[in-house]
């Protein structure tokens, strides 16, 4: 599975305030048009950063979500979930 679109989405979160605000307001609606797989969409909306990391999403991009508590990811929740994740092959 290519993590590229999730990487791109996380990059957009950091650099595009209007997209970030939209994700904050209604995450499912804001990412509805992104070409993610069903599994990626589900993991992202659940804030499952361990799974996304293991699929190859770059931690510097994934970590942006926790700067604004997006997808339920406060810094504390993010740290708890990412710790112990396995490096992608």
């Amino acid at each position: 599975m290519s993590a590229y679109q999730v990487n791109k989405l996380c990059h957009r979160l950091y650099h595009d305030r209007s997209f970030r605000d939209a994700v904050k307001a209604d995450p499912a609606k804001a990412i509805a048009d992104w070409p993610l797989s069903d599994a990626e969409r589900k993991a992202l909306l659940a804030g499952d950063v361990k799974q996304l990391y293991e699929w190859g999403v770059h931690p510097f991009l994934l970590g942006h979500a926790s700067r604004w508590d997006l997808f339920g990811l406060t810094p504390a929740v993010y740290a708890e979930r990412i710790r112990g994740a396995k490096d992608p092959a």
Binding site: Y4, N7, K8, H11, Y14, H15, Y53, H58, P59, F60, L61, L62, G63, S66, P75, A76, Y78, A79, E80, I82, R83, G84, A85, K86, D87
Partner: protein, 274 residues
């Protein structure tokens, strides 16, 4: 001919400017001041900065292993680092010369003429220059998107850079600045509990520090394998920025090297080369 007069290595963490005033009492502020004193004494006319982008200048649609900025001017930070905004000059003559010499010697840089720079360049320049009036030549090294360039290749790039500076047909003084950590994990599995960061291999960082103190650079280049740098954290590859700079230094020992501590996987170092 241009002359390489100083080499510098420092960390570049984005939280520093808001946390540590330039004239503050903390070790971070004091170490930047100590290094700045060495750079001031070198009276450089331009500074080559070797650092890694963090998906702010470049992205995965086209991520360069090595890149150089050759425009007339730039600005930043282009990320959300809390620090003053700087507009600054690029030394386009030196940058174009390094590009040309690099190409002739087999270093195929990606080239950008229109770019901003992120905290990896601007945090150190904020502390080390006076309002960034010194023109800059930015060189980026991929330090965190696998596969990384090898330490051997980065060292050779530094050797090339040294020769390129020496062959620029202009009477000017040039400094080389490398930025980054030796051990640091950001937002990955090895962060500390409840934190955004961790230092997974402080022992490696201390070892790198000892190698630098003793000018054992050939050994360091051999030891800085992809596996070892990754073990030191997901930006353990920032050591590669330092290794480019060390390729310009030769066998000289640093004239300033701050003591290593037990928590920070980085160093502050300066070499006087003229």
């Amino acid at each position: 001919m241009a002359e390489l007069v100083a080499a510098i290595g420092v960390p570049h963490s984005p939280h520093y400017p808001s946390q540590y005033p330039k004239d503050g009492p903390a070790d971070t502020s004091r170490n930047y001041r100590a290094v700045k004193a060495q750079l001031d004494a070198a009276k450089a006319d331009a500074i080559v900065v070797v650092a890694n982008d963090h998906f702010n200048t470049f992205f995965l649609d086209n991520f360069p292993t090595f890149a150089i900025g050759v425009g007339e001017a730039s600005s930043g930070p282009n990320d959300q680092t809390k620090m003053p905004h700087y507009d600054f000059a690029v030394h386009s003559e030196l940058a174009s010369h390094v590009l040309k010499v690099g190409m002739n010697e087999g270093f195929d840089f990606a080239v950008t003429e229109d770019f901003g720079v992120d905290h990896a360049m601007l945090v150190p320049l904020h502390y080390l220059t006076d309002e960034l009036k010194m023109p800059v030549v930015p060189i980026w090294v991929n330090a965190f998107v696998k596969p990384l360039p090898t330490a051997r290749r980065c060292f050779a790039l530094g050797n090339m850079l040294k020769g390129a500076i020496a062959s620029l047909p202009r009477n000017m003084r040039v400094a080389v600045l490398a930025t980054g950590h030796f051990s640091l994990e950001i937002a990955g599995p090895r962060v500390d509990p409840g934190e955004r960061h961790g230092t997974p291999d402080i022992g490696w960082s201390k070892h790198v520090h000892r190698r630098i103190a003793s000018a054992e650079i050939d050994q360091l280049v051999a030891e800085a394998t992809p596996e070892q740098m990754w073990k030191a954290g997901n930006i353990g590859g920032e050591l590669l920025n330092w290794i480019v700079m060390l390729g310009t230094v030769g066998k000289a020992k640093p004239c300033y090297l701050a003591d290593h501590n037990d928590k920070d996987g980085h160093a502050f170092a300066a070499w006087s080369l003229n």
